[in-house]
Protein backbone atom coordinates (compact mmCIF):
# COMPACT_ATOMS: atom_id res chain seq x y z
CA UNK A 1 0.00 0.00 0.00
CA UNK A 2 1.27 3.45 -0.83
CA UNK A 3 0.81 5.92 1.99
CA UNK A 4 0.36 9.37 0.56
CA UNK A 5 1.34 12.53 2.29
CA UNK A 6 -1.24 14.96 3.58
CA UNK A 7 -2.46 17.34 0.89
CA UNK A 8 -1.34 15.01 -1.89
CA UNK A 9 -4.67 15.17 -3.69
CA UNK A 10 -4.92 18.94 -3.52
CA UNK A 11 -3.32 19.69 -6.89
CA UNK A 12 -5.44 17.12 -8.71
CA UNK A 13 -8.61 18.48 -7.14
CA UNK A 14 -7.72 22.02 -8.01
CA UNK A 15 -6.81 21.26 -11.63
CA UNK A 16 -9.92 19.17 -12.01
CA UNK A 17 -12.06 22.00 -10.75
CA UNK A 18 -10.34 24.59 -12.92
CA UNK A 19 -10.47 22.53 -16.13
CA UNK A 20 -13.69 20.64 -15.50
CA UNK A 21 -11.92 17.50 -16.70
CA UNK A 22 -11.83 14.22 -14.79
CA UNK A 23 -8.34 13.01 -15.62
CA UNK A 24 -8.47 10.42 -12.86
CA UNK A 25 -10.16 8.25 -15.46
CA UNK A 26 -6.71 7.95 -17.09
CA UNK A 27 -5.64 4.34 -17.61
CA UNK A 28 -2.04 5.29 -18.39
CA UNK A 29 -2.30 3.26 -21.56
CA UNK A 30 0.04 5.81 -23.20
CA UNK A 31 -2.12 6.19 -26.29
CA UNK A 32 -1.83 9.98 -25.93
CA UNK A 33 1.93 9.74 -25.72
CA UNK A 34 2.13 7.54 -28.80
CA UNK A 35 -0.11 9.93 -30.72
CA UNK A 36 1.51 13.22 -29.67
CA UNK A 37 3.43 14.82 -32.58
CA UNK A 38 5.57 16.92 -30.21
CA UNK A 39 6.51 14.46 -27.52
CA UNK A 40 10.14 14.82 -28.64
CA UNK A 41 10.15 18.39 -27.33
CA UNK A 42 8.61 17.54 -23.95
CA UNK A 43 10.36 16.57 -20.73
CA UNK A 44 7.40 14.45 -19.59
CA UNK A 45 5.12 12.69 -22.06
CA UNK A 46 1.43 13.68 -21.73
CA UNK A 47 0.32 10.71 -19.64
CA UNK A 48 3.27 11.17 -17.27
CA UNK A 49 2.21 14.75 -16.79
CA UNK A 50 -1.25 13.59 -15.71
CA UNK A 51 0.50 11.23 -13.33
CA UNK A 52 2.50 14.08 -11.80
CA UNK A 53 -0.74 15.93 -11.16
CA UNK A 54 -2.38 12.84 -9.69
CA UNK A 55 0.59 12.37 -7.36
CA UNK A 56 0.50 16.00 -6.28
CA UNK A 57 3.96 16.72 -7.69
CA UNK A 58 3.15 20.33 -8.27
CA UNK A 59 6.58 21.80 -8.93
CA UNK A 60 7.50 19.12 -11.48
CA UNK A 61 4.19 19.58 -13.29
CA UNK A 62 4.18 23.37 -13.34
CA UNK A 63 7.84 23.69 -14.27
CA UNK A 64 7.63 21.09 -17.04
CA UNK A 65 8.20 21.99 -20.67
CA UNK A 66 5.30 19.68 -21.59
CA UNK A 67 2.60 22.14 -20.60
CA UNK A 68 4.08 24.76 -22.95
CA UNK A 69 5.10 22.55 -25.87
CA UNK A 70 1.55 21.15 -26.10
CA UNK A 71 -0.19 23.18 -28.82
CA UNK A 72 -3.64 21.74 -28.20
CA UNK A 73 -3.90 19.93 -31.55
CA UNK A 74 -6.33 17.49 -29.86
CA UNK A 75 -4.65 14.43 -31.38
CA UNK A 76 -4.20 12.89 -27.91
CA UNK A 77 -7.76 13.38 -26.81
CA UNK A 78 -9.26 12.12 -30.06
CA UNK A 79 -7.42 8.86 -29.50
CA UNK A 80 -7.86 8.68 -25.71
CA UNK A 81 -10.04 5.63 -24.90
CA UNK A 82 -11.34 7.48 -21.83
CA UNK A 83 -12.03 10.68 -23.80
CA UNK A 84 -10.00 12.84 -21.44
CA UNK A 85 -9.55 16.37 -22.72
CA UNK A 86 -5.80 16.49 -22.03
CA UNK A 87 -5.26 19.86 -23.79
CA UNK A 88 -7.84 21.42 -21.43
CA UNK A 89 -5.83 20.07 -18.48
CA UNK A 90 -2.70 21.64 -20.01
CA UNK A 91 -4.53 24.98 -20.30
CA UNK A 92 -5.30 24.93 -16.59
CA UNK A 93 -1.76 23.96 -15.67
CA UNK A 94 -0.31 26.79 -17.76
CA UNK A 95 -2.53 29.32 -16.07
CA UNK A 96 -1.66 27.92 -12.68
CA UNK A 97 2.05 28.01 -13.49
CA UNK A 98 1.82 31.68 -14.46
CA UNK A 99 -0.22 32.56 -11.38
CA UNK A 100 2.16 30.66 -9.08
CA UNK A 101 5.15 32.48 -10.52
CA UNK A 102 7.19 29.27 -10.88
CA UNK A 103 10.16 28.93 -13.19
CA UNK A 104 8.80 28.71 -16.75
CA UNK A 105 10.46 26.01 -18.83
CA UNK A 106 9.64 27.62 -22.18
CA UNK A 107 9.75 31.40 -21.78
CA UNK A 108 9.79 31.94 -25.57
CA UNK A 109 6.40 30.30 -25.92
CA UNK A 110 4.97 32.44 -23.10
CA UNK A 111 6.43 35.50 -24.73
CA UNK A 112 4.80 34.55 -28.03
CA UNK A 113 1.36 34.12 -26.39
CA UNK A 114 1.90 37.43 -24.67
CA UNK A 115 2.52 39.26 -27.95
CA UNK A 116 -0.44 37.59 -29.64
CA UNK A 117 -2.79 38.66 -26.86
CA UNK A 118 -1.39 42.17 -26.91
CA UNK A 119 -2.26 42.63 -30.57
CA UNK A 120 -5.72 41.18 -30.00
CA UNK A 121 -6.24 43.58 -27.12
CA UNK A 122 -5.09 46.48 -29.28
CA UNK A 123 -6.77 45.71 -32.59
CA UNK A 124 -9.30 42.99 -31.88
CA UNK A 125 -7.44 40.81 -34.35
CA UNK A 126 -3.93 39.39 -34.44
CA UNK A 127 -1.29 41.31 -36.33
CA UNK A 128 1.40 38.85 -37.37
CA UNK A 129 4.08 41.36 -38.31
CA UNK A 130 3.87 43.16 -35.00
CA UNK A 131 3.79 39.90 -33.07
CA UNK A 132 6.96 38.74 -34.82
CA UNK A 133 8.80 42.05 -34.45
CA UNK A 134 8.03 42.38 -30.76
CA UNK A 135 8.75 38.73 -30.10
CA UNK A 136 12.14 39.01 -31.78
CA UNK A 137 12.87 42.27 -30.01
CA UNK A 138 12.20 40.77 -26.64
CA UNK A 139 14.39 37.82 -27.49
CA UNK A 140 17.04 40.10 -28.95
CA UNK A 141 17.25 37.75 -31.88
CA UNK A 142 16.92 39.27 -35.33
CA UNK A 143 19.03 36.95 -37.39
CA UNK A 144 17.30 33.62 -37.10
CA UNK A 145 14.40 33.38 -39.51
CA UNK A 146 15.29 36.65 -41.18
CA UNK A 147 15.09 34.86 -44.54
CA UNK A 148 11.68 33.41 -43.77
CA UNK A 149 10.42 36.80 -42.62
CA UNK A 150 11.59 38.55 -45.76
CA UNK A 151 10.09 35.85 -47.97
CA UNK A 152 6.77 36.24 -46.17
CA UNK A 153 6.85 39.99 -46.58
CA UNK A 154 7.67 39.70 -50.23
CA UNK A 155 4.83 37.27 -50.79
CA UNK A 156 2.50 39.51 -48.78
CA UNK A 157 1.93 36.93 -46.13
CA UNK A 158 2.54 39.56 -43.48
CA UNK A 159 0.23 42.53 -43.82
CA UNK A 160 2.01 45.74 -42.90
CA UNK A 161 -0.96 47.38 -41.27
CA UNK A 162 -3.20 45.62 -38.76
CA UNK A 163 -6.78 44.73 -39.54
CA UNK A 164 -8.74 46.23 -36.67
CA UNK A 165 -12.25 46.18 -35.32
CA UNK A 166 -14.39 49.25 -34.78
CA UNK A 167 -15.88 48.42 -31.43
CA UNK A 168 -12.99 49.26 -29.11
CA UNK A 169 -15.32 49.31 -26.11
CA UNK A 170 -15.98 45.62 -26.56
CA UNK A 171 -12.27 44.90 -26.43
CA UNK A 172 -11.90 46.87 -23.23
CA UNK A 173 -14.79 44.92 -21.78
CA UNK A 174 -13.13 41.61 -22.64
CA UNK A 175 -9.60 42.48 -21.59
CA UNK A 176 -10.04 44.89 -18.67
CA UNK A 177 -11.82 42.56 -16.33
CA UNK A 178 -9.87 39.53 -17.45
CA UNK A 179 -6.43 41.08 -17.16
CA UNK A 180 -3.75 38.69 -18.34
CA UNK A 181 -1.38 37.59 -15.67
CA UNK A 182 1.63 36.87 -17.83
CA UNK A 183 5.10 37.05 -16.48
CA UNK A 184 7.45 39.53 -18.08
CA UNK A 185 4.46 41.58 -19.15
CA UNK A 186 6.05 44.79 -20.28
Amino acid sequence: MIILKKGHGQLAREVQERSGINFNACLHCRTCTNACPFVAGMDYPPNALLRLVQMGMEQEALESSTIWVCVGCNTCCSFCPMAIDIPAVMDSLREKALAAGVKIAEPDIVSFHDEVLKTIEKYGRTHKLEIMMRYKLKKRDFLSDMGVGLKMLKKRKLDLTPSRIKDQKALKKIFKKNKTKLIGNS
Binding site: V71, S78, E95, I109, F112, V116, I120, K128, K157, I165
Partner: protein
Protein backbone atom coordinates in the same frame (compact mmCIF):
# COMPACT_ATOMS: atom_id res chain seq x y z
CA UNK B 1 -31.60 29.52 -58.81
CA UNK B 2 -31.05 32.09 -56.08
CA UNK B 3 -27.98 32.18 -53.92
CA UNK B 4 -27.95 30.76 -50.41
CA UNK B 5 -26.32 33.19 -48.05
CA UNK B 6 -24.18 32.53 -45.01
CA UNK B 7 -22.59 34.76 -42.45
CA UNK B 8 -18.84 34.31 -42.93
CA UNK B 9 -16.17 34.38 -40.23
CA UNK B 10 -12.78 34.65 -41.98
CA UNK B 11 -10.54 34.70 -38.90
CA UNK B 12 -7.11 36.34 -38.78
CA UNK B 13 -5.19 33.78 -40.84
CA UNK B 14 -7.47 34.14 -43.84
CA UNK B 15 -8.00 37.85 -43.42
CA UNK B 16 -4.44 39.02 -43.01
CA UNK B 17 -2.14 36.34 -44.31
CA UNK B 18 -3.78 33.68 -46.49
CA UNK B 19 -5.26 36.14 -48.97
CA UNK B 20 -5.13 33.63 -51.80
CA UNK B 21 -7.11 31.22 -49.66
CA UNK B 22 -9.85 33.79 -49.03
CA UNK B 23 -9.99 34.89 -52.65
CA UNK B 24 -10.28 31.38 -53.99
CA UNK B 25 -12.79 30.44 -51.31
CA UNK B 26 -15.04 33.37 -52.19
CA UNK B 27 -14.67 32.53 -55.85
CA UNK B 28 -15.61 28.91 -55.31
CA UNK B 29 -18.63 29.79 -53.20
CA UNK B 30 -19.79 32.29 -55.77
CA UNK B 31 -19.53 29.62 -58.47
CA UNK B 32 -21.69 27.20 -56.52
CA UNK B 33 -24.35 29.83 -55.71
CA UNK B 34 -23.29 30.47 -52.14
CA UNK B 35 -23.06 34.03 -50.93
CA UNK B 36 -20.72 34.71 -48.03
CA UNK B 37 -21.39 37.88 -46.06
CA UNK B 38 -18.48 38.76 -43.84
CA UNK B 39 -19.53 38.94 -40.19
CA UNK B 40 -19.62 42.61 -39.36
CA UNK B 41 -16.79 43.79 -37.06
CA UNK B 42 -15.78 40.24 -36.06
CA UNK B 43 -12.84 39.80 -33.70
CA UNK B 44 -10.11 37.19 -33.35
CA UNK B 45 -11.35 33.89 -31.88
CA UNK B 46 -8.48 34.01 -29.37
CA UNK B 47 -6.28 31.76 -31.46
CA UNK B 48 -4.05 29.30 -29.60
CA UNK B 49 -2.85 31.92 -27.19
CA UNK B 50 -6.01 32.95 -25.34
CA UNK B 51 -6.98 29.47 -24.17
CA UNK B 52 -3.34 28.72 -23.39
CA UNK B 53 -2.94 31.43 -20.82
CA UNK B 54 -6.23 33.16 -20.02
CA UNK B 55 -9.45 31.19 -20.06
CA UNK B 56 -11.67 34.20 -19.35
CA UNK B 57 -10.47 35.99 -22.46
CA UNK B 58 -10.69 32.70 -24.36
CA UNK B 59 -14.33 32.38 -23.31
CA UNK B 60 -15.33 35.98 -24.10
CA UNK B 61 -13.67 36.56 -27.49
CA UNK B 62 -15.73 33.90 -29.33
CA UNK B 63 -18.91 34.90 -27.51
CA UNK B 64 -18.77 38.42 -28.91
CA UNK B 65 -18.54 36.95 -32.42
CA UNK B 66 -21.51 34.72 -31.75
CA UNK B 67 -23.51 37.76 -30.63
CA UNK B 68 -22.84 39.48 -33.96
CA UNK B 69 -24.39 36.81 -36.21
CA UNK B 70 -27.62 38.09 -37.80
CA UNK B 71 -30.54 36.03 -36.52
CA UNK B 72 -31.62 33.29 -38.87
CA UNK B 73 -28.28 33.08 -40.66
CA UNK B 74 -25.85 30.20 -40.28
CA UNK B 75 -22.24 31.09 -39.51
CA UNK B 76 -19.68 29.59 -41.87
CA UNK B 77 -16.04 29.28 -40.82
CA UNK B 78 -13.19 28.11 -43.02
CA UNK B 79 -10.41 27.98 -40.42
CA UNK B 80 -10.52 24.70 -38.48
CA UNK B 81 -9.08 26.34 -35.37
CA UNK B 82 -11.53 29.23 -35.29
CA UNK B 83 -14.32 26.71 -35.81
CA UNK B 84 -13.32 24.73 -32.73
CA UNK B 85 -13.05 27.88 -30.61
CA UNK B 86 -16.45 29.23 -31.65
CA UNK B 87 -18.22 25.91 -31.59
CA UNK B 88 -16.89 25.01 -28.15
CA UNK B 89 -17.95 28.38 -26.80
CA UNK B 90 -21.38 28.06 -28.32
CA UNK B 91 -21.95 24.57 -26.90
CA UNK B 92 -20.81 25.79 -23.50
CA UNK B 93 -23.21 28.71 -23.78
CA UNK B 94 -26.03 26.37 -24.74
CA UNK B 95 -25.55 24.21 -21.68
CA UNK B 96 -24.87 26.92 -19.10
CA UNK B 97 -27.75 29.15 -17.98
CA UNK B 98 -25.52 31.47 -15.95
CA UNK B 99 -23.25 32.02 -18.90
CA UNK B 100 -26.30 32.82 -21.06
CA UNK B 101 -27.29 35.55 -18.62
CA UNK B 102 -23.79 36.98 -18.63
CA UNK B 103 -23.70 36.79 -22.44
CA UNK B 104 -26.98 38.68 -22.79
CA UNK B 105 -25.78 41.28 -20.32
CA UNK B 106 -22.36 41.69 -21.98
CA UNK B 107 -23.49 41.84 -25.58
CA UNK B 108 -27.09 43.04 -25.35
CA UNK B 109 -28.61 40.36 -27.56
CA UNK B 110 -30.77 37.40 -26.58
CA UNK B 111 -29.10 34.00 -26.74
CA UNK B 112 -30.07 32.19 -29.93
CA UNK B 113 -30.41 28.44 -29.27
CA UNK B 114 -30.90 27.72 -32.98
CA UNK B 115 -27.67 29.25 -34.30
CA UNK B 116 -25.86 26.97 -36.70
CA UNK B 117 -22.06 27.16 -36.83
CA UNK B 118 -20.58 25.14 -39.67
CA UNK B 119 -17.25 24.49 -41.30
CA UNK B 120 -16.81 25.27 -44.98
CA UNK B 121 -16.64 21.50 -45.64
CA UNK B 122 -20.23 21.16 -44.48
CA UNK B 123 -21.27 22.84 -47.75
CA UNK B 124 -20.39 19.70 -49.66
CA UNK B 125 -23.34 17.97 -48.03
CA UNK B 126 -25.61 20.79 -49.14
CA UNK B 127 -24.54 21.29 -52.75
CA UNK B 128 -24.00 18.91 -55.63
CA UNK B 129 -20.57 19.71 -57.03
CA UNK B 130 -21.31 17.81 -60.21
CA UNK B 131 -24.31 20.02 -60.93
CA UNK B 132 -21.90 22.86 -61.62
CA UNK B 133 -19.54 21.09 -64.02
CA UNK B 134 -20.17 19.28 -67.26
CA UNK B 135 -17.21 16.93 -67.26
CA UNK B 136 -16.06 16.72 -63.63
CA UNK B 137 -13.77 13.72 -63.88
CA UNK B 138 -11.43 15.35 -66.39
CA UNK B 139 -10.97 18.63 -64.59
CA UNK B 140 -7.87 18.06 -62.49
CA UNK B 141 -6.17 15.94 -65.17
CA UNK B 142 -4.90 13.22 -62.90
CA UNK B 143 -2.69 15.50 -60.83
CA UNK B 144 -1.32 13.49 -57.89
CA UNK B 145 -2.46 15.23 -54.72
CA UNK B 146 -1.79 14.41 -51.09
CA UNK B 147 -4.65 15.74 -48.95
CA UNK B 148 -3.51 17.29 -45.67
CA UNK B 149 -6.02 17.93 -42.91
CA UNK B 150 -3.62 18.72 -40.08
CA UNK B 151 -5.39 18.66 -36.73
CA UNK B 152 -8.79 19.58 -38.12
CA UNK B 153 -10.12 16.04 -37.86
CA UNK B 154 -9.06 15.78 -34.21
CA UNK B 155 -11.87 17.02 -32.05
CA UNK B 156 -11.81 17.59 -28.30
CA UNK B 157 -14.18 15.22 -26.45
CA UNK B 158 -16.94 17.81 -26.07
CA UNK B 159 -17.17 18.11 -29.87
CA UNK B 160 -17.21 14.40 -30.56
CA UNK B 161 -20.80 14.46 -31.74
CA UNK B 162 -20.04 17.11 -34.32
CA UNK B 163 -19.73 16.01 -37.94
CA UNK B 164 -16.33 14.64 -38.92
CA UNK B 165 -15.10 15.51 -42.38
CA UNK B 166 -12.81 12.56 -42.69
CA UNK B 167 -12.30 11.71 -46.37
CA UNK B 168 -14.02 14.78 -47.73
CA UNK B 169 -11.05 16.18 -49.62
CA UNK B 170 -10.24 12.75 -51.04
CA UNK B 171 -13.77 12.34 -52.32
CA UNK B 172 -14.12 15.82 -53.76
CA UNK B 173 -10.71 15.84 -55.43
CA UNK B 174 -11.05 12.41 -56.97
CA UNK B 175 -14.53 13.23 -58.25
CA UNK B 176 -12.88 16.18 -60.03
CA UNK B 177 -10.30 13.98 -61.69
CA UNK B 178 -7.33 14.21 -59.34
CA UNK B 179 -5.29 11.15 -58.42
CA UNK B 180 -5.50 11.11 -54.62
CA UNK B 181 -2.44 9.79 -52.80
CA UNK B 182 -2.59 8.15 -49.41
CA UNK B 183 0.56 8.64 -47.32
CA UNK B 184 -0.29 8.23 -43.65
CA UNK B 185 0.44 11.77 -42.45
CA UNK B 186 -2.82 13.41 -43.46
CA UNK B 187 -3.80 14.23 -39.90
CA UNK B 188 -0.41 15.01 -38.34
CA UNK B 189 -0.45 18.46 -36.71
CA UNK B 190 1.69 21.11 -38.49
CA UNK B 191 2.95 22.57 -35.22
CA UNK B 192 0.99 25.83 -35.43
CA UNK B 193 2.83 28.48 -33.36
CA UNK B 194 5.77 26.22 -32.53
CA UNK B 195 6.82 27.38 -35.96
CA UNK B 196 7.71 30.67 -34.25
CA UNK B 197 8.82 29.63 -30.79
CA UNK B 198 10.31 26.19 -31.48
CA UNK B 199 11.13 26.20 -35.19
CA UNK B 200 13.21 23.02 -35.01
CA UNK B 201 10.30 20.99 -33.68
CA UNK B 202 8.06 22.42 -36.33
CA UNK B 203 10.58 21.73 -39.07
CA UNK B 204 10.78 18.13 -37.98
CA UNK B 205 7.05 17.44 -38.34
CA UNK B 206 6.60 19.50 -41.49
CA UNK B 207 9.53 17.88 -43.26
CA UNK B 208 8.22 14.47 -42.28
CA UNK B 209 4.74 15.23 -43.63
CA UNK B 210 6.04 16.51 -46.96
CA UNK B 211 8.68 13.87 -47.52
CA UNK B 212 6.22 11.07 -46.80
CA UNK B 213 3.80 12.58 -49.30
CA UNK B 214 6.61 12.81 -51.86
CA UNK B 215 7.73 9.24 -51.18
CA UNK B 216 4.18 8.11 -51.87
CA UNK B 217 4.35 9.82 -55.26
CA UNK B 218 2.46 13.04 -54.60
CA UNK B 219 3.11 16.01 -56.89
CA UNK B 220 1.47 18.47 -54.51
CA UNK B 221 -0.26 18.73 -51.17
CA UNK B 222 -3.66 20.24 -50.59
CA UNK B 223 -4.47 21.86 -47.26
CA UNK B 224 -7.68 22.64 -45.42
CA UNK B 225 -6.21 25.41 -43.26
CA UNK B 226 -4.37 28.63 -44.09
CA UNK B 227 -2.11 28.29 -41.06
CA UNK B 228 -1.08 24.74 -42.01
CA UNK B 229 -0.40 25.96 -45.52
CA UNK B 230 1.96 28.64 -44.25
CA UNK B 231 3.82 26.23 -41.98
CA UNK B 232 4.22 23.67 -44.77
CA UNK B 233 5.68 26.39 -46.95
CA UNK B 234 8.08 28.01 -44.48
CA UNK B 235 9.21 25.09 -42.33
CA UNK B 236 10.10 22.38 -44.82
CA UNK B 237 13.80 21.53 -44.71
CA UNK B 238 13.81 19.78 -48.10
CA UNK B 239 15.63 21.46 -50.96
CA UNK B 240 12.93 20.95 -53.55
CA UNK B 241 9.63 20.38 -51.81
CA UNK B 242 6.40 19.87 -53.72
CA UNK B 243 4.02 22.83 -53.72
CA UNK B 244 0.94 23.00 -51.50
CA UNK B 245 -2.44 24.27 -52.63
CA UNK B 246 -5.33 25.51 -50.60
CA UNK B 247 -8.28 23.16 -51.14
CA UNK B 248 -10.29 26.19 -52.28
CA UNK B 249 -7.75 26.92 -55.03
CA UNK B 250 -8.01 23.47 -56.60
CA UNK B 251 -11.78 23.50 -56.27
CA UNK B 252 -12.13 26.87 -57.97
CA UNK B 253 -9.75 25.85 -60.73
CA UNK B 254 -11.67 22.65 -61.33
CA UNK B 255 -14.84 24.66 -61.64
CA UNK B 256 -13.21 26.87 -64.25
CA UNK B 257 -12.22 29.98 -62.31
CA UNK B 258 -9.89 32.22 -64.24
CA UNK B 259 -8.46 34.57 -61.65
CA UNK B 260 -5.71 32.26 -60.38
CA UNK B 261 -3.11 34.78 -61.46
CA UNK B 262 -3.72 36.65 -58.23
CA UNK B 263 -3.44 33.60 -56.02
CA UNK B 264 -0.31 31.73 -57.04
CA UNK B 265 2.28 34.54 -56.74
CA UNK B 266 1.48 34.48 -53.02
CA UNK B 267 2.82 30.96 -52.69
CA UNK B 268 6.35 30.57 -51.41
CA UNK B 269 6.81 27.22 -53.17
CA UNK B 270 5.86 28.08 -56.75
CA UNK B 271 3.09 25.81 -58.05
CA UNK B 272 3.13 27.22 -61.59
CA UNK B 273 5.64 24.79 -63.17
CA UNK B 274 3.52 21.83 -62.00
CA UNK B 275 0.27 23.37 -63.19
CA UNK B 276 1.73 24.16 -66.59
CA UNK B 277 3.28 20.75 -66.95
CA UNK B 278 -0.08 19.15 -66.19
CA UNK B 279 -1.86 21.46 -68.59
CA UNK B 280 -3.93 22.92 -65.78
CA UNK B 281 -2.78 26.41 -66.58
CA UNK B 282 -2.04 28.01 -69.91
CA UNK B 283 1.43 29.43 -70.02
Amino acid sequence: MGKTSYSFFPGCSLKASGHENTQSLLKFCDMVDIELQELSDWNCCGSSSAHSVNHDVARDLPLRNISLVPRGQALLIACPSCLIRLKQSYLKLKSDGDLQKKYEQDWGVPFDPTLEIIHFFELFKRIQLKAYIKDPTTRLKGIKVAPYYGCMLSMPPDLRREPSHYGLMEEALSSLGADVISYGYETQCCGTYLSVAKPKLSERVVTQIISRAMDAGAECLVTACAMCHLNLEIRCALKNPIPAFHFSELLSMALGAENQKKWFPKHIVDPLPLLKQRGLLKS
